[in-house]
């Protein structure tokens, strides 16, 4: 790790101001950023910690929308969202290990947009809205590619708004080593339609499987997906799975998610 300065503001305004400084980067749970700094792969000059800002923390229900502060750890979502949005809570409870869940945050996960991460599938699959210090961004516009998002330099995610679906489920097939998603499917049924988001599979990061959505709009059953498949082309290939295997898992995990959603 290289030397860096550390700032822990108490308000969003202070954080935004500090982020204007040269070489500054927000630090949330640090579960992604700190390991990369330890390995000297990342060297911000100033870390602006977000976890001391009360306004960025907490889970609350506003009508049929669940609003989660960006600096809310996975473990808190796992318990506090459980009664309102069980699929989302279960997803949060399945991330990493207890240490990761007690530090890592939803804002950090979405900003990072790891192509194998879980939360991006929940946000896209729920048609969530990502709220920042300057604007609101629809999930459909937020994830722009592997490790890439619509966030501007210095822009901070402050909250994520999840419309609560009628039913939903997330099924993750674990990569054997990291236990991130080798492929994960998030299926959510809303009054106005079904959304299916797939993570861990595509070279472009999380994506919506529109053919599956259409089929499920006709009939929300696993059988409705019979015969549907995704092409191997454009899928990731690595030690743990070929593109063809990932394409296959997309269909398996989606079917299982539909069954699990009930």
């Amino acid at each position: 790790m290289y030397n860096f300065d550390f700032v822990k503001p108490a308000t969003l305004d202070e954080a935004v101001a500090a982020l204007g400084g040269e070489d500054a980067q927000p630090l949330s749970g640090g579960q992604t950023l700190l390991p990369s700094m330890k390995q000297r792969l990342n060297a911000p000059g100033v870390l602006i910690s977000l976890t001391g800002i009360a306004a960025l923390k907490g889970v609350k229900l506003e009508g049929r929308t669940l609003v989660i502060g960006a600096a809310t750890p996975h473990a808190v979502v796992a318990t506090e969202a459980a009664s309102v949005y069980p699929a989302l809570a279960a997803l949060a409870g399945g991330i990493g290990d207890p240490a990761v869940r007690n530090r890592g945050t939803i804002g950090g996960s979405l900003a990072n947009n790891d192509p194998s991460a879980c939360y991006p599938a929940a946000a896209l699959g729920s048609g969530a809205t990502i709220v920042t210090n300057t604007r609101e961004i629809a999930a459909d516009d937020f994830f722009t590619g592997m490790f890439e998002t619509a966030l501007e330099q210095g822009e901070i995610i402050t909250a994520v708004k999840f419309p609560v679906p009628e039913k939903a489920a997330y099924l993750k097939f674990q990569q054997p080593a990291s236990r991130f998603a080798l492929t994960g499917a998030y299926v959510a049924k809303y009054q106005d339609g079904v959304r299916v988001a797939i993570t861990g599979a595509s070279e472009g990061g999380v994506f919506r499987w529109t053919e599956a959505e259409e089929a499920l709009n006709r009939s929300f059953t696993a059988e409705a997906l019979n015969g549907l498949s995704l092409p191997a082309e454009g899928m990731m290939g690595d030690l743990h799975g070929t593109p063809a295997y990932r394409a296959h898992l997309c269909a398996v995990m989606t079917r299982r998610a539909v069954t699990a959603a009930g």
């Binding site: 054997p176 690595d238 799975g241």
Partner: protein, 793 residues
């Protein structure tokens, strides 16, 4: 009922109290006055010519005290291979020099070519980064694939070795023609090509070393993560640095796991010593996890073709194997013994197969050195045998249990000389197989499979009947086989004046539980309270010259040395008692901690004898020396031969290819059992590692020699949810006939016996599910590989 704290009691491990409460003292826990920090520059390319290393900018950096490159060590000795192997044509193996720091060329990613020592760790890190930037290395094509390495003589890991071959070994070469004859006329031949996957040891504690130099005396001290401090001292003193042995103290304090990877001497140890001398300050280094992945000696890495010739009824006629064994870029200390005498000699298994021939070509590649890892050679032999036997049973439609029974050596055949040069002293393989079947509830398997099917899962059952040679020892035998060291062990039993006992052992405990078990043996034999016995190990200044712990040798060899030293203590105690009780020495009996005159009530307790030994008023000093301390060296007559039967049940998810081990039954024969709790723990750990090898662990180098599985994000270690609740039995006991404790060793058993049981179970599950085109899947049997195998219709 075993005596409390004595032999056979499930005494809880006394060392766990400090390990589990964070009070262990590991190398990195030591903080020394004036200490400095070393950081190594490691090659980022697999193969390259070192063109230049400009140290000037680095030397000028804040806190930098010294910079070392390969040039500084070019005149000192190389780190040697401990075992000389001759090729089939009689020529000795090729032994390229393994320098302290790479010189001229770098030969694998992670190969250290320079070291920087600075006042702080951060300064040393910064300086090493600068030095790397000021180093020019011309990348050369990497030699990664063993077949290509042998086939292409133009590209060489070591310029002087044209075909990248260390040796081409035949075992037993004289039997080659006869074995070939059997195959020509055999009624059935089963052939299997398989890979025994390379493993990264991943001890919980990474390697660490601290060098000290004392200018007043010229003494050196090395504190290091070693499984055998005397061996490390010998290698550094006699081969690498020429420090007189009596001027070098090597201490291996608490060590957090080794699995073989800490047997060997590594260049970092020499660097911290040389730097300490230069700076006259302590120099410390602790590997980062990434360094461990890149530079610890890896394990396994064989590519094998095995053939089994048999009658149509499954009676074995011969085994024949051709193996390519990867040694990596340099010869690590035991790297040449592992694929040969720890592998080829086991290729008859527990079977009365008349003919066996083993060919091993050992190949240099631009990868990390490969050496012994828990089981070392014997897992490779067991995997090849048990997989090809399983395949043969399927081909001929034979019952796998009956085929084993038909071919097992029977209890009336001992001592049994195998066609691959070993003499098994005792065993009963039918008994362990029967036991395992009883534990499995074989009759209930179909019902379990049907229930699994109702959940969409394919259930399978896999068997492995394994044997190993361990208690790695007999010096005369290993000497004939090419070992350059003796493999006896040593112990000193010191009875202190107040009656408590210090036992100095050549064994080194890095998680095995010696402090508990050895004390139990002493307590039993000397009739004292186990809590009054202290086990001292891991410091060349304290212990007699021992060879350390590996090859399941601690109890069989080092424990026997302790037993022998205790025999001397008892003999001396009898002399003292005879003097004190005014009786003839021959009339003194020793039992339950009391010396008595036979047939009388005259007696002295062990404590009284000890006290008198150190307060020798009225001693007949001409015939009786004061003191009660004895040393014994023990060199056994043979290896020991633990064996057993493992049955594994798996469930395969046909949609994803994921394999779950749902039951694992072990029936082992370890001879006499000293502490059942520790035996069970060793089997659990060993089977866990075997399941890791079978299902999870994939060490992957790409075609450029980059390790693509260089962190826990990609290298899958087995976790709690990958392993089942184990069912372990050790009630089948045929005690070893040649060591005083009758013990065989249990440390490696699980890792040796389990991988083929798991893979056989997966193949069984797939066949039961209708995927009978799948004859083999290479380890690790990952979900992706299972799914891919299922697709090939």
């Amino acid at each position: 009922m075993p005596k409390d704290g004595g032999i056979g009691a499930s005494t809880k491990r006394r060392e766990d109290i400090r390990f589990l409460t964070g009070r262990g003292v590991y190398t990195d826990d030591l903080n020394l006055h004036g200490q400095t920090f070393a950081v190594f520059c490691r090659s980022t390319v697999a193969h390259g010519k070192i063109v230049s290393i400009d140290t000037s900018a680095t030397e000028a950096m804040p806190g930098v005290l010294a910079v070392f490159t390969g040039e500084d060590f070019k005149d000192v000795g190389g780190n040697p291979a401990g075992w000389l192997i001759n090729s089939r044509d009689g020529t000795p193996m090729r032994e390229p020099k393994r320098p302290v720091l790479a010189h001229g060329k770098v030969r694998h990613v992670g190969d250290a070519y320079a070291a920087v020592v600075a006042e702080t760790y951060a300064q040393a890190k910064d300086a090493a980064e600068q030095l790397a930037a000021d180093t020019v290395i011309d990348e050369l094509p990497a030699i990664v694939d063993m077949k290509a390495a042998v086939a292409d003589p133009s590209n060489r890991v070591h310029d002087e070795i044209p075909d990248n071959l260390c040796f081409d070994w035949g075992w037993i070469e004289d039997n080659r023609a006869a074995v070939d004859e059997v195959f020509k006329s055999a009624p059935h031949v089963t052939t299997l090509e398989l890979v025994n996957n390379r493993l990264v040891p991943n001890a919980m504690e990474p390697r660490a070393s601290i060098g000290e130099y004392f200018p007043g005396t010229g003494d050196y001290k090395l504190t290091t993560t070693s499984q055998n401090p005397h061996l490390t001292r010998l290698l550094i003193a006699a081969f690498v640095m020429g420090i007189p042995e009596n001027k070098l103290q090597v201490v291996a304090p608490d060590v957090g796991g080794g699995f073989g990877s800490k047997i060997y001497h590594y260049g970092e140890e020499a660097v911290v010593l040389a730097a300490a001398k230069k700076l006259k300050r302590p120099v410390r280094w602790t590997a980062e996890r990434s360094e461990s992945f890149l530079s610890d000696a890896h394990g396994r890495d064989h590519v094998t073709k095995i053939e089994l010739a048999c009658e149509k009824d499954g009676t074995f006629l011969a085994f024949r194997t051709e193996t390519l064994a990867n040694v990596g870029a340099y010869l690590s200390n035991f790297s040449t013994a592992t694929p040969t005498f720890l592998h080829g000699t086991l290729m008859a298994g527990p079977y009365k197969v008349p003919k066996v021939y083993v060919n091993v070509k050992t190949v240099f590649t631009n990868t990390a050195p490969v050496d012994a890892y828990r089981g070392a050679g014997r897992p490779e032999a067991t995997f090849s045998l048990e997989r090809v036997i399983d395949k043969m049973c399927r081909e001929l439609g034979l019952d796998q249990f009956e085929v084993r029974r038909k071919n097992f050596i029977t209890p009336d055949m001992y001592p049994y000389t195998t066609p691959v040069g070993l003499v098994y002293d005792t065993g009963n393989y039918h008994a362990t197989l029967d036991k395992a079947l009883e534990m499995t509830d074989l009759a209930g398997f179909e019902a379990r499979a049907a229930e699994a099917k109702s959940r969409g899962k394919l259930r399978g059952l896999g068997l492995s009947t394994w044997i190993e040679a361990c208690g790695i020892a007999p010096s005369n035998l290993v000497g004939v086989l090419g070992s350059r060291v003796g493999l006896y062990d040593a112990a000193t039993v010191r009875v202190n004046a107040t009656g408590n006992i210090s036992v100095m052992t050549g064994a080194h405990s890095h998680g095995q539980g010696h402090e508990t078990v050895f004390a139990q043996i002493v307590a039993e034999k000397l009739g004292v309270d186990a809590n009054s016995v202290e086990i001292v190990h891991g410091d060349t200044a304290k212990i007699p010259f021992g060879m350390g712990s590996y090859g399941s040798r601690s109890l069989a060899v080092c424990g026997s040395a302790i037993d022998r030293a205790m025999g001397k203590i008892i003999a001396k105690g009898k002399k003292i008692a005879a003097h004190m009780l005014e009786a003839a020495e021959g009339d003194i009996e020793f039992k339950d901690g009391t010396f008595s005159v036979a047939g009388t009530d005259k007696a002295k307790t062990f404590g009284e004898i000890a006290f008198s030994a150190y307060v020798p008023h009225n001693y007949p000093l001409e015939t009786l020396e004061p003191g009660l301390e004895e040393t014994a060296f023990y060199d056994p007559g043979n290896f020991t031969y633990p064996a057993g039967a493992y049955l594994c049940e798996v469930e395969v998810d046909p949609d994803t290819g994921k394999v779950q081990v749902v039951a694992f039954h072990c029936a082992d024969d370890f001879g006499n059992i000293m502490n059942p709790l520790i035996v069970e723990g060793q089997v659990h750990g060993g089977v866990g590692q075997g399941i890791g090898q079978a299902l999870c662990e994939n060490t992957s180098y790409d075609e450029n020699g980059q390790l693509t599985s260089a962190s826990f994000m990609d290298y899958a270690m087995p976790r709690a949810d990958d392993v089942p609740f184990y069912n372990v039995d050790y009630s089948c006991q045929t005690p070893c006939t040649h060591n005083p404790l009758g013990v065989k060793g249990c440390g490696e058993a699980g890792a040796i016996g389990s991988p083929p049981a798991v893979v056989n179970a997966v193949i069984d599950a797939l066949h039961r599910g209708g995927y009978d085109h799948v004859t083999h899947i290479d380890m690790p049997v990952s979900p992706a590989r299972v799914w891919a195998a299922m697709q090939k219709h």
